[in-house]
């Protein structure tokens, strides 16, 4: 049936190996390298599509395929196995689909870079790791993917190896991610050990976990700690409070990387993980509440920072953090389907936005380079009025902006609305989470349109010498933009809610994955609201109104009266500085975590390690050395001494054994 499932992750791995080993010396040709990498991912996509449709018509929704036994020590039996169910199917389509488009885009974007082969090799490796993450049938295989994407993220953020800021950003991303991974790993250990030693279920297999998870008991302490550990992992990988600080810095990487890894796929791994372990999370209301609140806080907090950023990619980065907060909000109130749905639509419109910004940066860069100017190609204050020069980029960007703002009829409207409805009406929902979510939606609309206006409308602020060199990007860049723009428009129609006359296909499709836990632990829309259509319509109208309000404010401030923002800044200088400097969170972390740890490290090194540890170690080493020098004299080289040693050994052994 699904016999070639293993091919899906392997294809990009092959691409990675071919390009990595042969790219520099043998292939050399940029087109060939790009084609190999893109085809590798695209073939995975085709296979994913085939299996997706096969699964649609298949009455059995969960399939496992074990390739080989990976580790087996006593009770620890871990297979290298794949899992294919609706959740995996959707993730596969998103990862390989968006991945293929971004690979295609990169062929144009990375043109002329000396590290061309290296870039595609890393990118393919990333897709491989991401696919391992979403197809692994147990927590350890998932962890391999989890670490793998972290590694690739590190490699790609620091892709421009001669830039110090890129290296620092890569390091920061890696270290912050490690904190999360530590939580994930602790969660795995604790889960495995508790399930095994207390309940006799030695397993990390997701299917078995879903069947046997209930032994941990609803609301139990252990399950709460385990899920909180997992959630810590998720906050690291998916850039949530308190571990979100790495993501904006990660924009140092090439733009396709930002689009693929830091918008569409890797950062959603945390959401996927919670979805995959929904049974465990459903059992702990405490964790669920934590997830929802952290998600909501992140959503509004990141959106507020987005107000004042001038770097186009940083705006998008904070927007990503904020949208991820939305997804966690959904997971936290039990709207697993809505969370995954938003994950998917977000992948479309955010990838499109990033690629669009990349297209702008690309041509800005060329133009500035052409005119020998040092202006920042990513600073929106240097842009403006690009609408006419780059029509395709503009249209797709604008469409995605409308989508992310939640304008009715576009993809994010459906997913965002579903999330907001659940935060309000779910049995695990909280009205204040809904309120925060709604406000964040309005803020999103505001800063996205601010970004759109500053870039594409208004006066041309680009230096006159460079202005005329700005032109539309080549087809290889605009085709992915158009496809993603189209998806950003229509992507939501697989999840049209019943109230709008749709049948919410994605909900039914994911039912086998999430339905079980939701049913046992009573997660769903509250009885009282279930048929309260007026309320649902009302909330929907309210969120639409908020979105349009955000757009309207942005239009007034940045389109009609461009002098307003400056006035506003003058009126509240302190507030502006606070927001502009990202609430000084990085500085705060430096002060309370990084510097004390550094100081402690220095103390351990100078005071403890050098004096005490080294002394002990060197002493022991000296002792062993002396023993060695002494013992080697037993080896005389004389045959009869050897025979004597054997006889003595024999006598002692026999005597001990017989007399005992």
């Amino acid at each position: 049936m699904y016999n070639y499932l293993w091919l899906i992750p392997i294809m990009p791995l092959i691409g990675c190996i071919v390009n990595g080993l042969l790219g520099k010396k043998f292939i050399k040709n940029e087109k060939a390298i790009g084609a190999i990498a893109t085809l590798a991912v695209f073939s995975s996509f085709l296979l994913s599509v085939k299996y997706f449709f096969q699964l649609l018509g298949d009455p059995v929704k969960t399939h496992q395929q074990v390739v080989f036994s990976w580790m087996s020590v006593g009770d620890l039996q871990i297979d290298w196995g794949f899992l294919f169910d609706p959740l995996t199917a959707i993730m596969l389509l998103v990862v390989t689909g968006v991945g293929s488009l971004i690979h295609l885009y990169s062929i144009g974007y990375m043109h002329g870079d000396p590290g061309y082969y290296r870039f595609f090799s890393y990118l393919n490796l990333f897709v491989f790791a991401m696919l391992m993450l979403v197809t692994g049938n147990n927590a350890m295989v998932m962890f391999v993917g989890w670490e793998g994407v972290g590694l690739c993220s590190y490699l790609l953020i620091g892709f421009y190896i001669d830039k110090k800021s890129a290296g620092d950003a890569a390091k920061k991303a890696f270290v912050v991610n490690r904190i999360g991974d530590f939580g994930f790993l602790l969660g795995v250990f604790l889960l495995f050990w508790t399930l095994g030693s207390e309940h006799g279920v030695w397993t990390l297999n997701f299917v078995d976990l879903a069947h046997h998870g209930h032994v941990l008991g609803f609301g139990g302490t252990v399950v709460t700690i385990v899920t909180l550990c997992f959630f810590l992992g998720a906050t690291g990988k998916s850039a949530q409070i308190p571990l979100y600080t790495w993501l904006p810095d990660a924009m140092e990487g090439p733009t396709p990387v930002s689009a693929l890894i830091h918008a569409a796929t890797m950062v959603t791994a945390g959401v996927y993980m919670i979805g995959r372990m929904n049974v465990l999370f459903a059992m702990s209301p405490t964790t669920m509440m934590t997830v929802a609140i952290v998600g909501a806080m992140t959503a509004i907090f990141a959106a507020s920072i987005g107000f004042a950023q001038n770097d186009i990619k940083r705006v998008l980065a904070y927007s990503t953090v904020s949208q991820l907060g939305y997804m966690f909000m959904a997971m936290g109130v039990g709207a697993f389907t809505a969370g995954i749905f938003h994950l998917m639509t977000h992948a479309f419109f955010k990838a499109c936005l990033f690629l669009g910004s990349g297209s702008v940066i690309h041509s800005m860069h060329h133009a500035l380079h052409h005119a020998h100017l040092d202006d920042d190609a990513q600073d929106m204050r240097n842009m403006g009025g690009l609408r006419k020069k780059m029509p395709i980029t503009f249209i797709t960007f604008a469409v995605s902006c409308l989508a992310i703002s939640g304008v009715p009829g576009l993809s994010a409207f459906f997913s965002k609305d579903e999330i907001l409805w659940w935060t309000f009406g779910s049995t695990r929902g909280m009205w204040y989470v809904w309120a925060i979510g709604a406000v964040a939606a309005g803020m999103t609309a505001f800063y996205m349109f601010r970004c759109l206006y500053m870039t594409f409308y208004g006066k041309e602020k680009t230096d006159a010498r460079a202005k005329d060199h700005i032109h539309e990007s080549p087809l290889v860049i605009t085709i992915p933009l158009m496809v993603l723009g189209l998806l950003a428009v229509v992507g939501g129609y697989i999840g049209v809610p019943a109230i709008l006359g749709g049948s919410n296909h994605i909900h039914h499709f994911l039912e086998p994955v999430f339905g079980h836990a939701s049913e046992i632990y009573h997660i769903g829309i509250k009885e009282a609201m279930h048929h309260n259509h007026a309320l649902e319509y009302g909330l929907m109208a309210l969120s639409i109104a908020i979105a349009f309000l955000g757009i309207a404010v942005a239009s007034v401030m940045y389109l009609m009266k461009p002098e307003l923002p400056a006035k506003f800044t003058k009126m509240f200088p302190k507030f502006h500085r606070l927001v502009f400097n990202k609430w000084y969170i990085d500085e705060l972390y430096d002060a309370i975590v990084v510097n004390p740890v550094k100081a402690f490290g220095t103390f351990c090194w100078r005071g403890f390690d050098v004096k005490v540890i080294d002394g002990v170690v060197n002493g022991v080493a000296k002792l062993v050395g002396l023993c060695s020098a002494g013992l080697r004299h037993t080896q005389t080289g004389l045959f009869h001494n050897y025979a004597l040693a054997m006889v003595l050994g024999m006598v002692v052994m026999v005597a001990v054994f017989v007399l005992r």
Partner: protein, 486 residues
């Protein structure tokens, strides 16, 4: 009388010894061919012996899962034997691949070298599949005698002569113990058949404290402990390993050692399971002693080959830990470890062969100065082998040690596992020192390294693939090892 003859005839099962028959046929054919080839024409011999190993390997592997018993239970070609046979064949193939250029370079292009390796392998295979004291003894002798000759193969070289003679004399000495042990056990139980001995001893508990039985077990063990170089029967190892031709040293440390473990394991488990707590206690002490002696003395060696000899003693100690554990994980870990050790140790020796300067061997630490820069790829390969010997993930050595110590912990020998791990830590010192010389010392200026023949490279590549395969996905092979134990 008539019945006996008939039973014997009925019990003939050629399939049970088919792999070794094939191998021996090749070896004898090769011997004849060598007699007619001119001196120095060793290439054909190498190829024929490789083909022989390949054919044998095919016959061995096709027998997996369908055990063959024959000759009134004197031979059992079960999964256990098959697993070990594959290990021997890999060891032999890797040795042969690295030898051809070497023996030519050292001035002994004599074709008999290859059939001798094949005979050794055949002997090892009989040891692994023997289920009768006599079969095992026969295998042991075939293996040992060929090895004595191989150890002294460079007959104009004093050190090689010394190695051959010492190995022969001490080997004969230990064989004496072994035979005496067999005789005592036969005297007690009236049988040389392993399973019969076990059943008999189990049925007569009074015999379990009989001095004759106990002395017999110990003497028998000494025969094998000598072959696996466990302290205090390890004294021959450094001298013989240092003097023997380098590929033979590599082979000795992998193939025959594994064979001795195979036979030892089978005898202890089949015959003396009733006395398990007693003999594991003795092996506990020997394992600790072996690990400590091997690792500690290795530290003060300046000759890499001799250092690896001590390291091989230490590794025998680790493997003995698996026998002390005497449970499923421990036993299967020994199988796994022997395979892993084959890859990493022969790999290391293969690189050592290539570290020679033109015309002479170069085995001192000093001599390896700057090797990592003059021969970067070989340097990396050597580093990987050494990492594996240290037991650093993701290499085969790590997985092997992990399983061994896991078995010990599972059986309740926490302290043994701790001692083992501490010993591994000590071993880092002398392995890392090789790297220090390779990478942090300047090479001599006029350094003419030997050229790198393809066949040796193949051998090294096999080693690296094995190291990483067993290191990254140990589960697959470990499952096979689990199926292989009794």
């Amino acid at each position: 009388m008539e019945n006996l003859v008939q039973t014997a005839l009925n019990n003939v099962n050629m399939w049970a010894i088919m792999p070794s028959i094939i191998l021996v046929c090749f070896a004898m054919g090769l011997l004849l061919i060598n007699a007619f080839l001119p001196r120095g024409a060793t290439k054909p011999a190498m190829w024929i012996s490789l083909i022989g190993l390949a054919v044998t390997a095919f016959s061995v592997i096709s027998g997996w899962g369908s055990p063959q018993y024959g000759f009134s239970d004197a031979v059992a070609l079960d999964n256990f034997a098959t697993f070990f046979n594959v290990t021997f064949l890999i060891a032999a193939a890797m040795t042969i691949l690295m030898s051809d250029d070497y023996i030519r370079r050292e001035g002994y292009p004599i074709g008999e070298y290859y059939p001798l390796i094949l005979f050794t392998t055949a002997g090892a295979m009989w040891m692994a599949s023997g289920t009768d004291m006599m079969t095992i003894f026969l295998g042991l002798e075939v293996m040992s005698i060929s090895l004595y000759v191989l150890a002294g193969f460079f007959r104009g070289d004093v050190r090689s002569n010394e190695a051959g003679l010492k190995y022969f004399l001490l080997g004969a000495f230990s064989t004496g113990f072994l035979l005496y042990g067999i005789a005592l056990i036969y005297g007690v139980t009236g049988s040389t058949r392993l399973s019969e001995i076990g059943v008999f001893l189990n049925a007569h508990p009074s015999l379990l404290s009989n001095p004759m039985t106990l002395a017999g077990i110990m003497l028998l063990s000494i025969g094998f402990l000598f072959k696996i170089a466990a302290a205090p029967f390890h004294m021959w190892t450094p001298d013989v390993y240092e003097g023997a031709p380098t590929p033979i040293t590599a082979f000795m440390s992998a193939g025959p050692k594994a064979a001795a473990f195979a036979a030892f394991l089978r005898i202890m488990e089949y015959c003396f399971f009733s006395l398990k707590p007693e003999w594991t206690a003795v092996l506990w002490a020997l394992a600790v002693l072996t690990m400590i002696i091997g690792n500690v003395i290795a530290i003060s060696q300046t000759n890499v080959k001799r250092m690896l000899a001590y390291s091989s003693i230490a590794h025998a100690g680790y493997a003995l830990v698996g026998m002390v554990a005497a449970n499923e994980i421990g036993y299967s870990a020994i199988l796994f470890y022997m395979l892993a050790y084959t890859f990493m140790n022969i790999g290391a020796f293969a690189i050592l062969v290539l570290a020679g300067k033109k015309g002479e061997e170069n085995l001192t630490l000093e001599g390896l100065s700057g090797f990592g820069y003059k021969r970067p790829l070989l340097g990396v390969a050597f580093t990987i082998c050494l990492f594996s010997l240290m037991g650093i993930p993701p290499t085969a050595g790590f997985a092997g040690k992990f399983y061994i110590f896991a078995g010990a912990v599972k059986a309740g020998y926490i302290w043994l596992a701790i001692i083992g791990v501490l010993n591994s830590a000590v071993s880092l010192y002398y392995y890392l020192r090789v790297m220090v010389y390779m990478y942090f010392r300047e090479a001599e200026e006029d350094y003419s390294w030997v050229k790198v023949p393809v066949s040796v490279v193949v051998s090294i590549v096999i080693a690296l693939v094995g190291i990483f395969y067993l290191g990254i996905i140990p589960g697959a092979v470990m499952d096979l090892a689990r199926l292989a134990i009794f």
